[in-house]
Amino acid sequence: MSVHNFETHSVPPSTGLSRRQMLALAAATVCQAPMRLAWAKAKQPWGKCVVVMLRGGMDGLAAVPALGDPAWSALREEATPDTPALQLDEHFSLHPSLAHLHEAHHRGELLTVHAVASAYRERSHFDAQNLIETGGLAPYALDTGWLGRALALGSGQALAVVSGLPLALRGSSRASTLTPSRTAQADDTFFERLQSMYASDPVLAARLQQGLQARNSMGMAMPADAVNLRSFETLCAQAAAALNAAADVAWLELDGWDTHGNQAARLARQFQLLDSGLARLRQDMAPRWRETTILVMTEFGRTAHYNGTNGTDHGTAGVAWVLGGSVRGGRVLTDWPGLAPADLLQGRDLRPTLDLRALWQPLLTRHLGLGQAELAQVLPGTLPPASDMWV
C-alpha cells in the first residue's frame, strides 16, 4: 500500500499573524444533538439532509473570489468579468452566476466555507474523491462511505440520484439509487417473476428489492416541468420529491469541474447549473426548509494561478457551502491563509485551514442522531472540532 502525504488538521485558529484574518470562528466545542437514551434503539433521522458532490475539483477561487485579498488581482486579473461578482462581505464575493446562492446569503441561510479541504494532500481526482467519500484516513483505506456507515447505525434511508451506488453511501443497505428514465415502467407481474427468479442470487435479490422499495416509497413521477431529463435541476427536483416522501438523505452529483483549460465560460455555465439546482431544491423543500440542510463539497480546489491554457490545475483547499433553513448563514466561515506567494501551499495552491470533516460531523449529529461514540465509529482518526453551523 502506498504512502500518501497527508496532515491531520487541528484547527485552533491562530492569532497574531497579521496576514491571517479570522472571519468566523470554528466552534471550539463539538455541537451535539440531544443524547439518545437507549443505545440499542436505532437512531431516528431528523429533518432532511442533502449532499451535493461536485466531481472534478471545483475552483474555489472562481466560486468565491477573495477580492479583498491584496494579492488577488495579481493572481486572477481576468477574474473581474464583465458582470461584477456578488458581494458577500468586504473580503469575499460570489461568482456572478451564483445569484440564488447570493440571495440565500442575504437571507442568512447560506454558510460559505473557504480554504477548506479534506486531509488529502496530493492531487489525484480518484484518490481525493475516494477519501472524501470513504471518510478514511487515506485513500482506499476503507471501502465503505462515511454516509453509508452513518446510515447503517440507524433507521434513515438515503437516495442517490445516480445510476450506480456512490462510494459515500456504501456500507448501508438503506441506500438506493434512482435515475430519471424515459422508458415506460415494466409491470408488477414482471417484477414478481423476476424476484422469484432471483431467489437463488442473494445480491440481485437484495438490490432488486431495494430498487422496488425505493420506486414505491419515494415516488417515481417525473416532475411535470422536466425539460431535460438529465439536467441537474431535474435531478434536484427528483431528490426533493424523494425527500418529501420517504427519504431522509439525498445524494446528488454534478460533474464537469475539472477545468484545466479555458475555464471562464465553462465555469460560468457550471455555476449556473449548480445555482438553479440548489434553488430548485430550496423551492421544492420549502415546507420543510427549516429542517433541511444541504452540503455542497468537492474533492479539492485548484491552483491559485491560471495555467498556460486559461484554466487551473488540481489544487488543495477550496470552497464548500452549507445551506438550509436553520443554518447560521449570511457569513463566510474561514481562517483565511492569504494569497501572497509565501502563503500558498507549495507555492501553488490555496492553503487549507479547515478540515472538511468539521462540516460532516454536525450533519451526522443533527440529521442522523449520531453521538460521539458513533461518530468515532463512522469517522476514524482524530476529528477536528465540529463547525458551529446552526442558528
Partner: protein, 436 residues
C-alpha cells in the same frame, strides 16, 4: 460441461450462442482467437480526419449561431452512429470475441471520452486507429499510438500545452497543461504510489509540449517545436534532451519500469477477468508483461491460461454494453437502431463514449448493479422481450447458451412465463445474463 467452458464463453468472450463449440477445448478455443483474430473492416467508417473536419464545422456553426448548426450536428451524429453500428455488428457476429474483449479492455485502459467539444466524435476513430492495430502487439507501440493520437492530445489537453520558455510560450505567456503527463503516469503506466513526484509530472508535461493537433485540414498530430519547452527534463531520475525524440525514450523507460507491469496487469485482470484482482491472476500476467517487455499477446496468453486453470473467480457483472452484445450474439438478432441502443445504455448507467473520467468505466460490480441500475436493466429486458418475443425462443436460447449452467430458478421461470415476450424479458434480466 465444465466451468472452464462457461468462463471461456462468457467471461473471456462476449457470450456464445452454442456452448458445444467451446466445450470440446475451452482453452484452445480461446487461445486460437489470439492467433488468428477476426479483424474489423473499418472501410467506410468515420475516421479521425473526417471526424475532426466535421467537428470543427459543428463547433464553428455553434459559435456563430449558424442556421446550419443543427444540420451539421445531426450529420456528425449520424456518421458516428453508423460507425458504431458497424462495430457492434462485427462484435455480435465475430468468431473471435475474445480478441474483441481484449480490444475493449485496452480502449478502456486508454480512455478517451466524447465529453469535450473537440472529442465528441473521436472515441471510435481512436479505437480503430490507435488501439486495434496494436492490441496484440507491443505495449510500447500501443502507448505511443495512444499518446500521439489527436483524440488523446485533445482529451487530456496536451494539444494546447505550451512550454513556458518555448518561443510560443514566451510570446504568449501561456504555459503547461499537466493533464496528459499526470494520467500517463497515474493511469496508463506506473499507477498511483509508484514513487513518481509532482516534479516528475511537471517534467513529463514539459517533455510532452509540442505534441499537438493541426488546427485545420485533417487535424493531424504534429510536433510543433515552437511550443516545445527547451532544455533537459528529468523524469524518474532520467535525463531527456529537448526535442521530439524524447517521447519515445520516456515511453520506453515507462514501459520498462517494474511498477508498470504490476499496474497494467492489475487493471487488465480487474477489467477483464476478476474485479478483485487476486494475486494468483495478477502475478503471472505482470511477469509475462515484464519478461517479454510488454508483448500484449503473451500477456493475454498468461491471463487466459490462469483464468482457465480451474481456480474460482469472483463474480463479474456484465456491463450494459456487454449485456447488449451478449443479447445480439446469443439471439442472432442484428444490430440496427444504434441510437436507441445508446439511449438504453445511458439509462443503464453506461453512456457510450462518455466515461466519467480518464480512469474509464469502473471495475466493481457495485458500480453497475445499484438497485436502480437493476430496475433499468429489467426495463430494457422488458422492452426487448416485447419487441422480439415473437421471433426468439427464450428457452431454446437459454439451453444452448448456458446448458447445465442454467440456474434451476431461471429455467423454472422461463417455463412458467405467460408469454414468449415475458420469457425473453426474464431471460435477459436473469442472473445468467447479468453475470458473466
Amino acid at each position: 460441461m465444465n466451468m472452464q467452458t462457461f468462463t471461456a464463453a462468457h467471461r473471456l468472450g462476449l457470450a456464445e450462442p452454442d456452448l458445444r463449440a467451446v466445450d470440446a477445448d475451452p482453452l484452445g478455443w480461446v487461445l486460437a482467437q489470439l492467433d488468428t483474430p477476426d479483424l474489423l473492416d473499418s472501410g467506410g467508417m468515420l475516421g479521425s480526419a473526417q471526424a475532426m473536419r466535421q467537428t470543427r464545422q459543428v463547433l464553428q456553426a455553434a459559435r456563430t449561431q449558424d442556421a446550419d448548426a443543427a444540420q451539421a450536428r445531426r450529420q456528425l451524429r449520424q456518421a458516428s452512429l453508423s460507425a458504431l453500428t458497424r462495430r457492434w455488428t462485427h462484435q455480435a457476429q465475430t468468431r473471435t470475441p475474445v480478441y474483441e474483449r481484449y480490444v475493449m479492455v485496452w480502449a478502456n485502459h486508454f480512455t478517451v471520452a466524447a465529453t469535450k467539444g473537440t472529442t465528441q466524435a473521436l472515441v471510435l476513430p481512436f479505437e480503430l486507429e490507435a488501439i486495434r492495430p496494436h492490441a496484440l502487439g507491443r505495449f510500447q507501440d500501443l502507448l505511443r499510438a495512444v499518446v500521439t493520437h489527436p483524440a488523446m492530445l485533445l482529451y487530456l489537453d496536451n494539444a494546447q500545452s505550451i512550454g513556458p520558455h518555448s518561443r510560443a510560450g514566451l510570446r504568449r505567456s501561456k504555459g503547461l497543461n499537466e493533464n496528459l503527463a499526470r494520467e500517463l503516469l497515474e493511469l496508463h503506466t506506473l499507477g498511483v504510489g509508484a514513487g513518481y513526484t509532482q516534479a516528475d509530472v511537471s517534467a513529463l508535461a514539459a517533455l510532452l509540449t509540442g505534441w499537438t493537433v493541426a488546427r485545420d485540414g485533417d487535424g493531424n498530430t504534429q510536433f510543433v517545436a515552437a511550443m516545445h519547452e527547451p532544455g533537459d527534463k528529468w523524469v524518474l531520475g532520467q535525463r531527456y534532451a529537448e526535442g521530439p525524440q524524447a517521447l519515445d525514450a520516456v515511453l520506453a523507460a515507462l514501459v520498462r519500469h517494474p511498477a508498470t507491469a504490476q499496474h497494467v496487469a492489475t487493471r487488465l485482470v480487474r477489467d477483464w477477468v476478476d474485479p478483485t484482482a487476486p494475486a494468483h491472476l495478477v502475478q503471472p500476467v505482470a511477469r509475462a508483461f515484464q519478461d517479454t517487455g510488454g508483448d500484449l499477446r503473451a500477456t493475454a496468453h498468461a491471463l487466459i491460461t490462469q483464468a482457465l486453470s480451474g481456480q474460482a473467480l469472483a463474480p463479474r457483472a456484465r456491463r450494459p454494453e456487454e449485456l447488449l452484445l451478449a443479447w445480439h450474439r446469443v439471439s442472432g438478432v442484428p444490430v440496427r437502431d444504434s441510437g436507441a441502443s445508446v439511449a438504453a445504455l445511458t439509462a443503464m448507467g453506461q453512456p457510450w463514449g462518455r466515461t466519467p473520467s480518464p480512469a474509464g468505466w469502473p471495475f466493481g460490480n457495485d458500480d453497475w448493479l445499484g438497485p436502480d441500475a437493476l430496475l433499468k436493466r429489467a426495463q430494457w429486458a422488458h422492452e426487448t422481450g416485447r419487441r422480439f418475443g415473437a421471433t426468439v425462443d427464450a428457452r431454446a436460447l437459454a439451453q444452448a447458451a448456458w446448458g447445465q449452467a442454467l440456474h434451476p430458478g431461471t429455467a423454472r421461470e422461463l417455463n412458467r412465463a405467460e408469454s414468449p415476450a415475458q420469457a425473453l424479458a426474464l431471460l435477459l434480466a436473469s442472473p445468467e445474463f447479468t453475470w458473466c
